[in-house]
Symmetry: D3
Subunit: 247 residues, 6 copies
């Protein structure tokens, strides 16, 4: 049930039964020579829609741009500053909380968003309390990273072992291949791929990871893997979401 | 050519030929009893994609949430504060300008975004000059409102006359019906519809526009109209975009 | 009735009868070789005082510095960033709204302020609602651009035709000549004057408009024209203000 | 020499000889039962103009609204938040410094502005250094409080002794009477007047200073005193300004 | 080597050899009925000093107040908002980076700081790049949580098993007992202690964790344990710091 | 009574009797060739602890980093921007005021903090009123500068006369020698020492004060002087604090 495809009166009815909402959040950033710039948003969106279908939850529009400052040395990458993303998150949650929503389940496709989202949640709770919003103390936010679900992680390890890596991974590339088979890319992938260097500035990142991959071999990805990963992620996150609602 | 479906290397190649990019921006807000909450984003996105196809331009992911504070008394609406949207715009343009983009053509689906976008452009030019970005003085932003193209306006007047109104209009609803025929809504639409009251606070807005429409009769919309409006808008904005590139 | 020349007790009495206030806002920016840097503030102030006299409205002190980032390549120009002007507007309206004012009629002398003021109004309404100010939902702000009144526009066209242009116009220069006849300037005005180029960065502006004029011939201005324009503007805006109060 | 009455070309010429500018800053706030709400801005402006005439300095438009949060419980008072005034100051100085100004002499009419201005100066120096503005290290700002000049203070003590007080003082009221003899107010002034309580919140201020005066008897003010005080202040500040330029 | 006990000339000499610095960061927040409000700062500070002695590193003054919004329903707790802590971190790192420091090793005593610190690091790298600081791309920040060192974690598990819990833990209380034996507290500790509830708003936190503990039994803490934990932490973090310098 | 060494339950009990708290604030900045970088924080902290012992007041942890932008050209100096320090102050006071504290007595060791703290207090009062915090109108903040107490000033003059100077003074150095006799430094101190130049930018400061001292001879400092100064300051500030509580 996509928020964008509802009327306000349908949302009003939904709220009488249910105060939960799913918010997909991705990023717009390089994903190596064969990964799509929209990888993180595409994965978050498709999985969020799947969870919405499986659970009857309302799904908000995707936050397409996240915190990707360390990727900005690669063209096509776009990033919000952390303080901007905090404000975007606070404005979004506050708008919906004022209407009666109380459970905000962010399905996240990008590791770089996690810290900022957590900071944003803290700031938002305090903001809502300051506003004396009724039920401010009932508002709960959660960031659920599809790629960190135990079941997804296991499947990725089975399929790719060490070649999964940590950015531009075959598993996320596979999900985008499943969603957009017409946009499967081929490009030279050096067998040697850098890994293990922590993330600092954008310039430092590109120096250490010259083609954008972090320890991954996305050449292993297939659309079929993508479908499997998608299904496993939807199942795992649907359970998480329902538990989150119940808490 | 969707940015989200490119690799960073493809963007690098594009930039060698072309420094323009299209950024669709909509809103997530009530559109009356039969209009979709995502109307403004849906229209901006589909038209932007059309313009991208017609002109070969790169199209960035859609900014789904805009400045809709006056709609917040209707559930399902989400708004950024103007200062947040200014920061989002500045971060977005700055990220892309650092990579070499110089022409930013925002295809906009929501009247409430216009003022804030214009303020954001001014602030961004100054920011880029402060950063001493090479070619900062070549960066140009433009907001193109699809519903204000002369040709679109004329067609809407032909089709709907005075019943076009100014929010939850049949023309924007028609475009969403063309895009999502499976999500055409029917609901009671009072023949009497408020109009003419300026926009102030959210509470005042809902008091004056109790079902969310501003002088419009979206019951007149059809998917066929939507297709026509879409085609006219794509044609008009494609010309505008190409002129903008050339300036 | 100038706010600056009242005591707080006189304001208290005024508020018992009337919750309206006029706020003149101008800019401090180049106005071509013969236009005063204070043109926009001077015009807004004198017209606001005239409207105050005609309607009995309280007139706040003039906001002398506005959003003029695009003029900063000319010495003597001063600009607030849009986010600063938003904050100034919010602080001003909030101070007065807390005391009981409800109708804020900005008489504006500078096109570059419009977008930012509109963004500021939206943000301010939401701020006042967040503060739970009594009657927050009654607060209304309006930007009235003296140079865009139909009657003013017609007179300017009669007097100057195409030579009115859009910046450093003979009509605004004429009003300053009427107010400060001792400060009428003469300087070389090239017959060729640039026009038609949109406004982007400050550097780009100066490159395209090397003497600061946009399509105008301020050499046509006379103090007598200024008096006429002043009178027409005061009459038109007085009517607008009274209607605004009544709404 | 008023900036508002110059053209940009005249400012360009001025800058070849002189990099100093005077910026009057006041406040819009209650000044007791007989004091004008604009007292601080009126005094700063008239004295700044006098200093400009005496020294040939350029005088910027008056900052009419300052930091007066503690007066907001009296109607008609308007205040910027300190962080807003810091940003206004930074934007103003940065605009002018980019054009070549290096000495910023703020003539201040309101004690409540001092702390915020000093904080703003510090932040602005660092901002200009961050921008790598040429001559950033030559930019100097100074706040000169006309009522704290030794000579003014002595004259006020001679004229009013202990009845000078510290807010809504006879000396500042006298200067406004000199400038606006047509706006001399009479109202009941209790002989008992509160004094000695430090300034905390607006509500606390009004509770302790119910008519707005702090230990003062503005009933002693006369336009003739105002003229004397004006002359003494202009003389003293002209010397200060010239020394400041030379440093 | 404590920064606070050096002269600037000694720092200048240090920088010729070494560009690393340790910054202890804690929090000021409730730690259950027997835990000190300063627990997190005390632990971070003493361990940072130990690491400084072991490695010859300069140790900055302790950031005593962190991100503890969820503890604010307990008196004595103080929190910065995340955006404030981001700004504090950016200002701190920027000050030191401008002087030549390149490696910033935050020794952290509070889980609630981690997300905000990581967001702050990202924002700071981009800020330094924007400033065009020489060697901006060499600046690296790291947050090292003493309580999450593998060796510390193992010792805590050995000593306390499941009763370690996750807030007001016996291990952190033990370290404070080792540092301040004179401030060992005794108070009633219910055997039943809440656990497992995620952290949302302050009000929600206190409702679920009424005495402030999260699954812990701080009654098990002894100063001797504290000494052991301290020693293990210093050893582990000294190694981490030296590796961080070398990278 | 140090806040850091209390439990939240002890703070709860304290608040039943007493709503006052002392907050030491210093700076981390160069203090000439022999002064410690932590001088201002060390002095503020030790004196605040003394006042806490003398009066039974609770003493918060020290704010170690203040507003020292003008010292940033000397390595080891760290500064918050004024707007950051305003936010830190507001967050700190707001946290404690929500718990019931009403009297905030900042014991300050650094002249450069004063303006920003005063601005912060004003902003904080307005913030608390906006939050509708019960007793918001009872919150009072005060900045007490130990080095400006009449008794301290007199003693410093007796001991050092004109050689006291205004930065890196023998009196503040003496207090640090009393606290940290093991960290007494000796270095070449030129007999010629700059003085009298106002404080502008960091670069300008270092140019005029090349070794960091402002007119002072810290070579005169002794630990015995430090003890005397400490005792005089504690006595004077204890009286001030008790009066502040009573007001």
């Amino acid at each position: 049930m996509l928020l964008h495809l509802q009327t306000w009166q349908e949302v009003e009815e939904y709220l009488e039964q249910n105060q939960g909402i799913i918010i997909p959040i991705g990023s717009t950033e390089q994903h190596g020579p064969t990964g799509l710039i929209g990888t993180d948003a595409i994965c978050a969106e498709v999985i969020a829609k799947g969870v919405g279908e499986a659970t009857g939850a309302l799904v908000a529009p995707t936050v397409n741009i996240g915190m990707a400052l360390h990727h900005l040395a690669f063209p096509g990458s776009i990033s919000l500053q952390p303080t901007t993303l905090i404000q975007v998150t606070q404005d979004t949650v506050s708008s919906l909380a004022a209407a009666g929503f109380q459970r905000f389940f962010f399905i996240n496709g990008h590791g770089g968003n996690i810290a900022t989202l957590k900071a944003a949640f803290s700031q938002t709770y305090a903001h809502l309390a300051n506003l004396k919003l009724p039920h401010a103390d009932q508002v709960r936010c959660n960031v659920a990273n599809w790629f960190m679900c135990r079941e997804v992680y296991q499947l990725a390890k089975e399929l790719y072992g060490e070649e999964e890596g940590s950015h531009a991974t075959p598993s996320e590339v596979a999900v985008t291949q499943f969603v957009y088979p017409e946009a499967i890319k081929s490009a030279f992938l050096d067998k040697e791929v850098a890994s293990g260097h922590p993330i600092y500035s954008a310039e430092d990142f590109r120096r250490h990871y010259p083609d954008g991959r972090m320890g991954s071999n996305p050449g292993l990805a297939t659309p079929e893997h993508g479908k499997q990963l998608y299904q496993v992620a939807v199942k795992a996150l649907s359970e998480q979401y329902l538990k989150f609602l119940d808490r």
